[in-house]
Amino acid sequence: MLTREIGSMTLEHFWLVSISVLAAVAIAAPLAVWLARHARGRRWALGTVNIIQTIPSLALFGFLLPVPLIGGVGKRTAIIALILYALLPILRNTVAGILGVDAGVRESAIAMGMSEAQVLRQVELPLAMPMILAGVRIATVTTIGTATIAAAIGGGGLGTFVFRGIAMADSKTILAGAVPAAIMAIVADEVLEWVERRFSY
């Protein structure tokens, strides 16, 4: 019975994390491309996501509850909070990866007659890819951990066991949530590191 529940909660946890990280990539990547070209916007945006990152996760979940449209008890609120946390590492690494492209390489690309889109797609993004993927990896691993807290606002996932165990003062139930989450984090880290290596040149 418990084994079965662990399986379904692990799956739920996996989806919670996957949706949040993919949404964070979809938001952060285009934003980072723009920010790499606009120094003023960059300070502003990185400062903002930095501040979000400093809000304790339980507090952020709490803050989001009363917000109209996006708030309320449930998965939607949890996913929004997780996206907000995942933004920083992806945004910061993508910006740093693009800005880190050797100035001579970028200048040559322009001087040889590449369009701005070609420089981005064929030079800057491939060269930044290991950095970008490292950001995604960090975001994924931290999101797996943070997502356990999402259960506090009805997000479901492995945190359900953790909070139930705390309420029942039963460490076995806590471990039923904590151990699969830890394993998921380790596996995700390994898999994404492998992907990262495949993209380095």
Binding site: I110, A111, M112, G113, M114, V123, Y201
Partner: protein, 248 residues
């Protein structure tokens, strides 16, 4: 001979500093003009105005008789080869891919690009069988510059711009590259503008030498005339190779 590049009263200010103060210079077809000067003399800025990487604050630069700012920058740059000090090769592309950059951008058929890449790698002394599949990190400094030159020549542009291409090489390699470059330029019939701070290189490669000082042209002369120049900046450069050397 026709003028391929013309600078007309070119001025450039940046950060409250006069980088170029009224430069007039004409580069004829099939000659190599060396822009010689100290660091900060404005020679690289002048070079980058030809392919539109930098726009003059006032004055005009013409390439092929048309003002640079009136041309489509992308089409124009594909007809101007560009070589910089560290090569600027794409680290994630092979030697063959780097060399074939402009043909690929111009959508040449694959076989034509491959044939051209092989021809150029042979011309710069890098056997395609050995080098085509290598990545820039697997090359020595001199080999990188050879690929840089092959890449610049790939789409057969009428003009080459070179910004201290050999400055980071050891003296022996540099000497070999200078000789080789002079032969290549002649064989491919290219016009070249070559930036350097090395007087010896300027005298070896330049059909004419334009000496820049503090953003203005001090003198323009052939190598022979330059050696006899009385300009104090020219003498300062010549002194660096006269002192301590025996003259026959």
């Amino acid at each position: 001979m026709a003028a391929l590049v013309e600078f007309r009263n070119v001025r450039y200010q940046a950060g409250g500093r006069e980088v170029l103060r009224g430069v007039d210079l004409t580069v004829e077809e099939n000659e190599t003009v060396v822009l010689l000067g100290r660091s900060g003399s404005g020679k690289t800025t002048l070079l980058k105005m030809v392919n539109g990487l930098i726009a003059p604050s006032s004055g005009e630069v013409r390439f092929g008789g048309t003002p640079v700012n009136a041309q489509d920058p992308i089409q124009m740059r594909r007809r101007i080869g560009y070589v910089i000090q560290d090569g600027g090769l794409f680290p994630h592309w092979t030697v063959a891919e780097n060399t074939g950059l402009v043909p690929t951008l111009e959508r040449w058929p694959r076989e034509k690009t491959e044939a051209r890449v092989a021809e150029l790698l042979n011309a710069v002394g890098l056997a395609p069988a050995t080098y085509a599949a290598r990545y820039p990190r697997q090359l020595s400094g001199g080999e990188k510059q050879r690929v840089g030159i092959a890449r610049a020549l790939a789409a057969d542009p009428p003009l080459l711009l070179l910004d201290e291409p050999f400055a980071a090489l050891d003296p022996v390699t540099r000497f070999g590259m200078q000789r080789h470059f002079a032969e290549l330029r002649k064989a491919f019939g290219k016009t070249a503008i070559f930036v350097t701070h090395d007087i010896r290189e300027a005298l070896t490669l330049g059909s004419r030498i334009a000496l820049l000082k503090d953003g203005a042209i001090e003198t323009v002369a052939s190598a022979d005339e330059f050696a006899r120049s009385t300009s104090s900046e020219a003498r300062a450069f010549l002194a660096t190779i006269e002192d301590g050397h025996a003259h026959p």
